[in-house]
Amino acid sequence: METLFSQTTEAIRREAKDLLESGKVAAFLGFVKGSLPTVTRPFVARTPEETDKLVWNGLCVMNLANYLPGLLKSLEPPRRPGEPPPEGPLPRVGVIATGCWSRNMVIQIQENQMDRERLVILGVDSHGMIDRRKLEVLAGGREIQSLEETDERVIISGRDFKMETARQEVLRDNCLTCVHPSPVILDKKIGPTVPERRVHEPFARIEEIERMDAGSRWAWFQEEIATCIRCYACRNACPLCYCPTCFVDDSHPQWVGKSIDKTDTATFHILRAYHCAGRCTDCGACESACPMGIKMRLFTRKLQKDCLELFASEPGLDLNSPLPLTTYQPEDPDTFIIAGSKKQGTQGGSEK
């Protein structure tokens, strides 16, 4: 059956093939079908023939921006540290970008992780991606052995069941609250435009947590991260995490202990989220990657809400506006500052 996804898949294959055949790009970054019905596999096509395998569907949950700096670097001719790049343009990469991924690319460009000139971006408006954990819950613990997706419906089946649901019911939480489905930087648009969304209460879950008392919030936080195995899938799936040495690997001083420990796991999640402050585009790759189903997106989502409220800032919308933590305004909120007897302030920036 022809769907928006199948049409987009065809268009992506065509464009990617053209790009590789014409030599405009050295590699094309997309997805291929996975070996399981609920997962796709990020894939680097290096020959025109390989583009026939590319797919586009609601299971493309990994943020492709994550691969770009490394892939671009791997295509450069090898050189020693400090040696200047060779004359002339460096090999380019073609890539698919949705709204959030393109915003991550903007941030990577702003943070000098890559050059815009080396990217050929095929922009696809996102219809929202599927949360396979929601599918698992729907299947009630039974193994999902096949999945079909139309523009509005998702059908899953297994050994002795078949179920159908509206796509909307199984979309990822971040896609449900996404307001910018369209890519902000692109070289060619693929597929139809999805209008900017109006989300009724985009931060409803965050506000719900904020309304709890400190003790309940701590209990929620502990429960949320209790099953963390410290595999760092959330970190490694994130296009914002590119430090050559991550803070978890610093040994002198060592910020975080490395085994499973209540404090160390908490510290890891706090600092990981905090490092994404003002940069996170809520692409949801962290949550999609987590093998334990931890909803660590809630931590970055809180920061996103605060950045919006305190600094009126949404990251990655524009190559020319600075990220919120790389700038300041003299009149930035400072009600949380207590200044001794001279200037009695109230506490807690977010407290009403």
């Binding site: 399981l36 193994e143 195995i229 490395k258 499973i260 093998p291």
Partner: protein, 342 residues
Amino acid sequence: MKILKLDNSDLKTLLTRWNETRDLFSPVEGNGKVGWQRIEPLAFNEPAEGVPRASIKVFFFPQPETLLEYSTRSGDRDAYVPRPAMGKGRERIILGVRPCDARSVMLNSLPFANDPYFKVRKDTTLIVGFTCERPCSTCFCSWTGGSPMGTEGMDIAMTKIEGGYLAAVLSEKGKELLGHLHDTKEASPEERKQLEALRKQAQKGTGPAGSPAEILRKKALMDLYNATFWQKLADSCINCGACTFLCPTCYCFDIQDETVKGKGRRIRYWDSCMFPLFTQHASGHNPRGQKIQRVRNRFMHKLKYFPERFGPLSCVGCGRCIRECPVNIDIREVMRDLLSIQ
């Protein structure tokens, strides 16, 4: 091998008795997350299809294991003199263990053969396994030398049949656990036949012909190492440790000292060859500085290096890495690719 026929009430009685002197653990689902938890005897449910998300490695190779302890108070006479930390604790029974997980304990005891900590854990942990009636599509234990009806590593192996379970008694400890039932509940010849039939049926594997471990042992190391498909894997891989940490047979570890308020300990904790720091020298030089090298090492260790050293693959075919890999790297494909190299 002695086989008993137990009905549900026998099982309940046993669990209640076991719980008096030992701690019971089983897979528990909560909040959409499945893990191994201490349970009350009557809370035990037959395990769900397939394997729980976490493997049982944590019982034998805890995260972390305290190796040594010491005082860090400068006034103490034995300050900074480490002593072994090896609490025996109560015996534990892990219930509902699938054949793949049980077999992983046997495989891990190969590298840990001389490890006193692993030994204590093994000596104080009993495994009551449940064989698989319905393997999942990601299960491939039969490729790796196991079987859905396998009993390796178990003290008792339960197989569900009409009206209860057939319990195969596999160790002295298993015999002890069954108490007087061991002598009074013997299965009938028909029931034994039924079990035999199930085992035979399970042997009809779907995997590659022959024994992959044996075939891969014989292949030339550098032919496998230099295969071209590794690049494709590295293209997709994000180099996280999800596969490693979920894997029942990944056993690499790091050792580190921790000191807090006058107390110090040397711990060993799970590490992953997927992390760049794993091999990085203090000088900054990194023998496996590239992603492709790290991805390759994990699979080569499981499928080539380990078999060369110990015989079997360091993989039990539980399929956890396949199911949970965020970018769908599938070890079965890697195995097929390696096997196809001439």
